[in-house]
Subunit: 387 residues, 2 copies
């Protein structure tokens, strides 16, 4: 298994990124990801009850179509809380792209990130589509990965290569997101529902069921285990395309090749999730919270997130202030039935950039790790001004 | 009904406040409240699963005894997460006070606020008790109200006088709390569970049942409707004593005099709750969030608290940044099933100190108001350094 800390598109994928004018700054704001042949898709979307128009549209397309060829993404405008006209804007975006690419509109997926509640500048996007398509290339990923960013200070990217039989398979993932990060993602089929956008491309040949299963498990153990500010977005989307171009023996729902694939995907998802925390808005610390000996994984996660989302804990870490009482209070407020006398807490030295908090509940065998950042004056500055 | 913005003890009550040395600064840190005759007590404590030793002890005393004469309160040390030895320290505090006052130890209630997880300096407290008792007086309330404070910048106090028949009744309340404020209080009998400390004294003659009922309703509509930082404390306590010295016709569980009493108590609780938000750590804004037309009061509160606890909303208000999308995202993340097209949001001008947010859900007749503060660099400074 070979790991690259950059995005290298798998066989049969191209990408592009341009400035369409959605961002007034003139920065890159429109990205396209394209597979030469129809690909299978697996998606996990926010469980926020208010879902952005692009997610509403993707859910419709995922019901209607079994294969996908393109994902168009804008940054700067979330196209959320924009009502029926917002949904129409997403539909028209997909239609215009489909027409230019000569594919069916149901084979297009869309995603948006940015300010909530403002009308999408549809005309700017439509006008930019021809150039966006024209610029598609292998190397275009390097502009695409920047075009999806908002307040990110670096692009999050990761590629893994591994062998399945005699074939080399690649999984490439890119992500954006530094604030409004507390994802609770679920596949649309489950009707469970930050702004976190993640796009993962693989040339592996894999069954739809296996792809869904692998992505769900990997997201639950990566993006669903991070929090910057406890604020779940309306736009969080993880979209994965698998186009089969590696021509490996098809990966089924279980077995050796599934395990190899899922393990690789898990590494990509986990590393991208950690990069999001490394770039968390205003953060000065990278914090790993491990809860051990909970009754279950679910309870362990609930306790770890209660600590991770405690403003008092986060400010204490920022201040390098060994106030472990705030950890205690947040554990007790988590909703899990804990016993004071059974709780053990270990915190690594606070002067370092990476902090490790370990909680032992002595109730069972469940354990979980959550990644988070500290709460700093810089976080407030960024978000007081973001507009 | 006559309202005083200061604490004036009702008939038969005395108080005192001194420096015992629990706070290293030498500031006032030990308070005593005393009723000349045994009084009825009603209490609401935090629902945090980890409860400070003084709360554990109070619950024992509330089971054993039907009348109370003294409340001893220290600030600077929460006596929480201190195990069996912490509970022994609270017991010994109550015992030492009871002995000095020549009352039964079960007639004493205790409360603590401050750092969690440090051993209570019991000897300092025991040594200070004789002087504390000696200084008991009507005017002692002015030192007592300061002795309960931690990072508070002003004392929260309120007195109401009103007539019941021919008798004048007084309700006097004092409170402390500016951070780790997200109370979820309940009476111990219900086995539901910031550091918020509130002490309320009345000379009304009232049945135990009526006292419990009035306090529960008033707390649910006041202290349980405020949040500074979403961090529920292990030490939140509202303790009310009623000594009957007004000699009014006893207040029963319902009827005109109950309504008059409950209405007065509601004003005291609500005003104290609002003062806590006015003094919220680092706050530059006082925010009132009103949710209308929810399915129920419970759902309205849940939505209002989701908005109030959103760091992104709070920083936007600090920045006077009209980012109402963050309100939308937090409503959708509240867990309540809402429909985008039915939500209306109104926000008052952001330049003012007092901000009013109104949310309309168009789902029913439930409504609720939650008070909160903005999130500022000053909040972080205070809490990064608090030790």
């Amino acid at each position: 298994m070979k790991l690259y800390r950059k995005a290298i598109l798998p066989l049969g994928f191209k990408a592009s990124g341009i400035s369409s004018g959605v961002k007034k700054s003139g920065k890159l704001d429109l990205a396209l990801f394209y597979s030469d042949i129809p690909a299978k898709a697996a998606c996990e979307f926010t469980t926020n009850k208010i879902q952005a128009a692009p997610i509403q549209l993707d859910k419709i397309h995922l019901k209607k179509s079994k294969s996908f060829q393109a994902i168009i993404v804008n940054s700067g405008n979330a196209n959320c809380f924009t009502g029926k006209s917002g949904l129409r804007d997403s539909i028209e975006t997909a239609q215009a792209l489909a027409k230019t690419l000569s594919i069916s509109k149901e084979n297009v997926l869309v995603a948006s990130t940015g300010i909530i509640g403002r009308k999408l500048p549809l005309l700017k996007i439509k006008r930019a589509i021809p150039e966006l398509v024209q610029r598609l290339s292998k190397g275009g990923i390097n502009k695409a990965k920047v075009a999806i960013m908002t307040t990110d200070t670096f692009s999050k990217e990761m590629t893994l290569e591994f062998n399945l039989g005699r074939r080399r398979v690649r999984i490439c993932g890119i992500a954006k997101g530094v604030g409004m990060i507390a994802p609770s993602l679920a596949s649309p089929r489950q009707h469970r529902g930050a702004t976190l956008l993640v796009f993962i491309f693989t040339d592996a040949l894999i069954s739809q069921q296996a792809l869904n299963k692998a992505l769900k498990v990997c997201v639950d153990n990566s993006f669903n285990c991070i929090t910057v500010d406890g604020c779940m977005s309306t736009n969080d989307s993880v979209i994965m395309l698998a186009n089969g171009q590696a021509q490996n023996v098809p990966i089924k729902n279980q077995g050796g090749s599934f395990n190899t694939f899922a393990k690789a995907l898990q590494i990509v998802c986990r590393e991208l999730a950690k990069m999001i925390i490394q770039d968390a808005e205003g953060a000065s610390k990278f914090i790993r919270i491990r809860v051990n000996k909970a009754k279950s994984f679910t309870q362990a996660i609930q306790v770890a997130k209660a600590v991770a989302n405690s403003n008092l804990f986060k400010t204490a870490i920022y201040g390098e202030n060994h106030n472990f009482g705030r950890i205690v209070a947040s554990i007790g407020a988590s909703g899990i039935d804990v016993k004071e006398e059974e709780i053990k807490i270990r915190v690594s030295p606070l002067k370092k950039k990476e902090i490790k908090v370990e909680v032992f509940l002595n109730q069972g065998d469940g354990s979980a790790t959550v990644y988070t950042s500290d709460l700093t004056p810089e976080y407030i500055k960024i978000n007081a001004e973001y507009n």
